[in-house]
Symmetry: C2
């Protein structure tokens, strides 16, 4: 007798936690993902800024589920879902597989949104994947390397200007880390530039940083960012991005061009295109970010066998955070298990807000848990504690803690490797522009030591 | 008064140790390298097989030299040396720099040699750079992922066949690790394949593995490899390599085609092309591997101000190992310091062989130190100790030891991340072939669990 087949799309928080919650259910689980890893996205910025290794935030999904006998992990990208015949079609390297399901959990997440300006992506990568983080690592450290080679003051300033678009947690954390790198960590590693001349600019179209944290914490975060050397510019819309800079429109309608080699986009999200597929077949509605308006039990309208969880859903204005995905994945699993074991779950999905936090600087953070608002060191310590718990696996917890010791106490960055491929192949064209020309014709004075 | 300028080309063992040995010399040191890191090449295979992170074996060179006030590190690739005018010209991302030197230390190392068959490189990457290691990581783990998707027995066997060409230390260590991965580590992580069906084939044209270790240890290494599931095939020349396999010619003249998706080339080295530049201008001779026949004091004939160290030299049949480069770099530095401080070094370069070791399996290695020959656990323990000492930096030592604990005791691999770029962009075309076609038309049975 074959057991009911549960297919899960995605290995992020929603997909992984759903799979784990089905460990003891009388089903076979197949988790299909286009990446081999479960990505701990909230720490992606630490890979980009040289604190953590890729393995620490992205353990192999099949490793995590190794001991769960009813779970199979497949590396393939789902490109078709047929709700009528209950089949998912996925592909990898020209190999196509079809998976029949009795239950489907769609947890394919969201990508970066450039609000209709996808051409910006080339010059201002987002922060959604391991590829993004390594690309940004190459751009951040690579800009400093190129500045060290430059003899042209204007070019050097452009190479030393870092612009982060979007003042949500990702943008704030990136800005904080780049300021820490240039103001402190790397200060004595260069000879021909003073990395403290770097300008770290955090832009947002809204009037506050970290809006969901409330007025008090937002103000505290802004003050702490500025104290650490981040220039915060609010009410500023980005109207154009290219290889050598970007154009910003302020509230008063005035525009300004900012010369900057390294741009980072952390401004918006767009749900997986699988949302559109589901909507078209089920008649469900999509919001502007491509998220599906699901039923209160996270099912697709008209399809009680199809659950959608995490960043792909539009329900009760739930935010696109890890906890919504985790709790959604577990809820979907409990519904399936309940149905099969004769104990149906009748309650709607209820999200329990466990709070949010964002790191601003070394030993500084903001945290909001219910009515409790923390900032400074207490918030930072809470962040450390919570994140260590959520890093997957005991082994990763140990090496992550070590890398954090190295970074927070020792102020060093030990994971800074960029590949030639990233540095030369991509940085050259995308960051510096195709018209980038040699600026040093003469002979460098190699002994010009500043420190 | 400007101090004498020492330019060092390369951030490998030769270049880095030369720079460090000049810390107290009355000179300005400029180290120019085309990579941002000092690569600990002997552990590259551990990055490829998921044991170590890139940061652990490739710390940023400018970090290592941060406190050495007389040293400047520049990221640029040297493409011209003018011995007459004593100028080195380097380039990065279309930016050109020229460096005048009073002393030059050329430590640009060696790349992989395909003995005139450079087209093999696409299908069988070498093991010389971080890019190589990450590319191979994607190919090794990616082959297993694709095998898990495959429903075609012949294709699956091709995806499960790993061929390592060259039975020197790198080839032996790679073969041993892939066997460990497939025989033990990953066994329970897959559901549709049994990774123990994988075939790990170590090929060499010579008649023994690890020839420099002597007959007894070579035999011990071969036995240990075979005991761990590596098929060792000696006296076998590779005559062709393509996307889906390779052609091997045995001693008796017979040829055989072996179907294998993942091929690794660890068979030969070719000195940096800078050797040819130096030879053409100085009249020095090159050997077949492009190495320069230097004077007994490591200087270029006719140029007492130019030293060549490490893998680029041909002198007294010295091997291309880390210790030759380290000692050569230090010797060159002592010559320069001696000349400037009135205590000239007159002795020729004398290499002190500190021994060699190669890891064969978990807890198994061979080591030769002078007349002392060790194999099995004692050799492995010696390897552990020596390598921990040579891993650069206390912090890397701690995390490396932890990753080794995870791997050797826990039998896990925590650094397995491959980027989409590596997996899709490169694996597809280069490993599976452009004519790779979908082989699964029907519906996979997701519940087919083998273990």
């Amino acid at each position: 007798m074959t057991r009911p087949q549960v297919v899960i799309i995605g290995s992020g928080f929603g997909g992984l936690f759903a799979a784990q919650a089905l460990a003891d259910a009388p089903v076979d689980v197949t988790l299909v993902s286009r990446t081999v890893s479960h990505l701990f996205q909230p720490l992606l910025y630490q890979v980009a800024t040289g604190i953590l290794s890729t393995g620490e935030i992205a353990p192999a999904t099949r490793d995590i589920l190794r001991k769960q006998a009813n779970a199979t992990v497949l590396l393939a990208e789902v490109n078709r879902i047929n709700l009528a015949s209950r089949v998912v079609v996925a592909e990898k390297l020209a190999k196509t597989i079809a998976l029949k399901y009795d239950y489907l959990i769609v947890a394919a997440g969201a990508g970066q949104s450039y609000f209709g300006n996808d051409q910006f992506a080339t010059f201002a990568p987002g922060m959604k994947t391991i590829d993004d983080a390594l690309e940004l690592r190459a751009r951040i450290f690579g800009s400093l390397e190129m500045a060290e080679l430059s003899e042209d003051a204007e070019e050097r300033q452009r190479l030393l200007t870092f612009v982060i678009v979007g003042a949500g947690p990702t943008g704030v954390e990136m800005a904080g880390q780049i300021a820490e790198l240039t103001q402190h960590t790397l200060r004595r590693s260069f000879r021909r530039i003073d990395t403290r001349d770097a300008k770290v600019l955090l832009l947002d179209g809204m009037d506050v940083v970290l809006p969901p944290f409330g007025a008090k914490l937002s103000a505290a975060a802004k003050t702490e960012l500025e104290r650490n050397g981040v220039e915060v510019r609010l009410g500023a819309l980005v109207t154009d991005v290219d290889a050598t800079g970007l154009e910003v429109k302020d509230k008063d309608g005035s525009t300004e061009r900012i010369a900057a080699s390294c741009k980072i986009w952390a401004a918006g999200v767009q749900a997986s295109p699988l949302g559109r597929t589901l909507a078209e077949q089920s008649g469900a509605e999509l919001d502007r970010a491509g998220r599906i308006m699901v039923n209160p039990d996270l099912t697709l309208p008209g399809h009680p066998e199809v659950f959608v969880v995490g960043d792909m859903i539009s329900l009760d204005k739930l935010p696109g955070v890890a906890q919504v995905a985790i709790q959604g994945g577990r809820y979907a699993a409990s519904k399936i298990r309940g149905e099969l074991t004769g104990h149906p779950v009748t309650a709607s999905f209820a999200y329990h807000d466990k709070g949010s936090m964002a790191v601003i600087s070394r030993y500084g953070a903001v945290a909001k848990v219910g009515k409790l608002e923390l900032s400074g060191f207490p918030a930072w310590f809470a962040w450390l504690f919570v994140h260590l718990i959520y890093v997957v696996g005991f082994k990763n917890r140990v090496t992550t803690l070590l890398h954090w010791l190295i970074t927070f106490v020792g102020r060093a960055r030990s994971e800074r490797v960029t590949t030639e491929q990233q540095l030369v192949g991509r940085l050259a064209v995308k960051q510096l522009g195709e018209d980038f020309q040699p600026t040093i014709a003469g002979t460098l004075n190699p002994g010009k030591i500043k420190h």
